[in-house]
Amino acid sequence: MSTPASHEAHVHAHAREPLTVATVRFAGDSGDGMQLTGSQFAHEVAWAGNDLATLPNYPAEIRAPAGTLYGVSSYQIQFGSIPVFTPGDQLDALVAMNPAALKVHLPDLKPGGILIVNRDAFVPRNLQKAGYESNPLDDPTLRERYRLIDIEISTLTHRAVEGLGLSHKEAERCKNFFALGVVSWLFNRPVEPVLAWLGKKFANRPELREANARALKAGLAFADTLELIGPAYDVAPAHLPPGLYRRISGNQALALGLLAAAHRSGLVMLYGSYPITPASDVLHEMARLRNFRVRTFQAEDEIAAVGAAIGAAFGGGIGVCGTSGPGLALKSEAIGLAVMTELPIVVVDVQRGGPSTGLPTRTEQADLLQAMYGRNGECPVVVLAPATPGDCFHMAFEAVRIALEHMTPVLLLTDGYLGNGSEPWRIPELDSLPEIRPPWAEDPETFAPYARDPETLARRWAPAGRPGFEHRIGGLEKQDGTGNVSYDPDNHDHMVRVREEKVRRVAREIPPLEVQGADEGEVLVVGWGSTYGAIHVAVSRAQARGHAVSAVHLRHLNPFPPDLGPLLGRFRRVLVPEINRGQLLRMLRAEFLVDAVGFNRVRGLPLHAAEIEQAIEQLLEPGARTGAGSRADSGQGADA
């Protein structure tokens, strides 16, 4: 459905105020279909040519009991005619399908923001479950503070679908499309893609297609015809670089990046995984790729999954395994085996809230040091991290490339926000993908399992099955060159250094850092992973205020880009915002002895641009704290 962004917008009589960006959140019960509604709205705004970023947020329960606070599920989207880097901090509009959703999410709505509620759900039982003593809709302050659009959504939905022979439950399930209709009207987003989707989705259930379409249109009509609404908005298409676009989530992009690398290298790819939130979707995506000869293996546990990946690499395939933090912990020992045997595997960690089971459906960046050091012995691996959902494609490709060309395990750190979040993605040309050239063993006469490429130090790869290269490898220390088991003390010291240097040499291929702003100044903000958007926005704003602030975002965490050290030296202060307690911070301080400070919030949520902006401001103040360094903001923590 390749449609020009200059599509015919839904035409309304209503006067519309232009907006450059808007942030909308849909919130309701887990059973209310908020994830679907949000993603359909994202679909609309993408189709309308806006840039966008999304943030799904759902409880760990599969179907939490209706009406409870912990059962609230939400989906947030920021979209605009300008580049959009985050799903937004504060909300311009909130849809609250029940009292619990109102209770949980109202604090995030801007003063004067639009608040759409389903009045039908504000019945005593639900109010009580949400902990309301009285009906908040009857509280006049609500109307004073916000632009309340108070609709009997259930009633109107039932009315709209009457006569289609739906059960009460089925009819009730359409109410999210009514809400979507209202929001689509408010922001003048086209509903055509939703109607098309309904057509495909319910090809075999025409009554459901029709019902949902009717609910959607009823919502549109309700908003359009009734005059209670006040101003409506329009958001012009964004000026994205030209090309063909789609909307993509990080987990999807990751799967496609792996697939592209398999295609480019012409090797069999084996994806071994044990399901775990929020990484399971990568497995689901990969499992669909049977006709690409991608092989998936749902293993009995994470150890078996990485084992299978290692086996694949021994057999000349691309061994990949994906998991989240607890699974990475379990894989530690086996990753060490891949380091010792210098086999190319890629381990994906879609990070979630920890420690332990933690907050399984939330996002976090607290596995970086685990990725770096969570193995016995000196056990270096390459560590990469994409910055946005779409970047997951490129970094997944890069991870496979580095693993194969350098004969090393690569750890790829994404997180729940990147994995589930989505953005418009310019579809890459296949030809633009770099080649992948593993260091194949070529001559059986001179072959030795640990003979190395002098440039990369990668050992030569001779997969099982190739005549003339029969050899044995294993987890015991190896004699360099021959690969025989060696207990020689000096050889061990040498090999420890070789493994380190081999990883370090990957730095030779890291492209120059792209600095947002001048490459010297007062404050450099250094980030990695999913904080990219928030940092970008915060720095842009600070720059707009005239501050000498720049940002750099690391996609290579080990080794560091070679130009990072010099860059750090050209700024008076360095700020490292992370969704952890200062892990990249610790690495930078140890490596470059730079008195960087952290901005750390570990709330299971993306950082807000505003709070980073504030941290930058603080650092710019004369006499800003120094020295306390890695523990800059930790003192007040333990208020127990």
Partner: protein, 338 residues
């Protein structure tokens, strides 16, 4: 350098590494048996892979001039599974021990057996942890005094064969380090089986558990203690002077004496290796007084994992056509920005 299979001999399969087991270890005999058997398979050397975990037994791959991988403790089946999925043509052996395979690696064994991946698993059971210098293992008898159980172990042992039955294995056999021709026969049949072949090998650790199987291997006691099972044949054992047979009366098994002159036994149990009930009844018998069965105890057909995977791959390709990467990248909903 390309190996041709025709002229291969035992020596072609010996690597240049010194064998580092204790003198007298049962592992030597197993190594020899494997090296003797491989040339008969007609499989080129480069298509053969030995994958092991950790333990004395797991050093095995170093001594084979094939591809080999000495992995980590208990995980060899997972690595072998990944390897087979990547290159289904390889003939893959998994070498493991009673600790490696049944203690830390028990779960992987369970799952590889149920999946029926075409691997040949050789479990060297010496009823002890050899490499870590003598602690009891999951197959050690109760009451065993070892370094970690100075007052005797209290754990009830596992029987590897019964674990394999519980895991729904398709091919189960047992042999003994000293019975080299029998072992070679078992190895050949293991390789022939198109699924996971699970071969338990009783192996003497002469340092930490010497004589664990002496009754079974000692010339004087052996015939009364070992029962060689063959499909479709009566279950006979005992010396020529005092031949015996098992007799199955419904669920009950008795030891029947046979005629030493003619060798004839009245109504012996004709073993059916394709019937798991036979394997189950036979391996439930306690030794002593019952003899220890060796040979192929179970052999049945079931879809092999990798073959099923490939068949599904072909099917999907037939149905959907080979994957089109550009189309896949585009997905369903795109828009163009000019």
């Amino acid at each position: 350098m390309t190996s041709t299979t025709a002229r291969l001999t035992r020596k072609d399969f010996a690597s240049d590494q010194d064998v580092r087991w204790c003198p007298g270890c049962g592992d030597y005999a197993i190594l020899r048996a494997v090296q003797n058997t491989l040339p008969e398979l007609g499989v080129p050397r480069e298509k053969i892979v030995f994958i092991s975990g950790i333990g004395c037994s797991s050093r095995f791959p170093y001594y084979m001039n094939t591809y080999g991988f000495h992995t980590i403790h208990g995980r060899a089946p997972t690595i072998a599974t990944g390897l087979k999925l990547t290159d289904p043509e390889l003939v893959v052996f998994v070498i493991t021990g009673d600790g490696d395979g049944l203690s830390i690696g028990g779960n992987h064994l369970l799952h590889v057996l149920r999946r029926n991946v075409n691997l040949n698993i050789l479990l060297f059971n010496n009823r002890i942890y050899g490499l870590t210098k003598g602690q009891y293992s999951p197959t050690s008898e109760q009451g065993k005094v070892t370094k970690s159980t100075p007052y005797g172990s209290i754990d009830r042992p596992l029987d590897p064969i019964r674990v394999a039955l519980g895991a729904n294995a398709t091919w189960i056999a047992r042999t003994i380090d000293r019975f080299v021709p029998h072992m070679q026969q078992m190895l050949r049949r293991a390789v022939a089986h198109p699924g996971t072949a699970f071969l338990e090998i009783y192996q003497n650790c002469n340092i930490f558990n010497d004589g664990a199987f002496a009754e079974l291997t000692d010339k004087r006691t052996r015939s009364d203690n070992v029962l060689e099972v063959e499909h479709g044949k009566p279950l006979r054992f005992g010396s020529p002077e005092a031949p015996k047979a098992l007799r199955l009366s419904c669920l009950d098994v008795e030891i029947a004496t046979c005629d030493p002159e003619t060798g004839a036994c009245a109504d012996p149990w004709i073993y059916d290796a394709t019937d798991p009930r036979h394997a189950s009844l036979l391996t439930a018998l306690e030794h002593p007084p019952y003899p220890v069965p060796i040979g192929v105890l179970l052999e049945r057909q079931a879809p092999e994992f990798v073959a099923s995977h490939l068949a599904q791959e072909r099917e999907v390709i037939e149905r959907l056509g080979p994957g089109d990467l550009a189309a896949m990248l585009r997905g369903h909903d795109t828009w163009r920005v000019e």
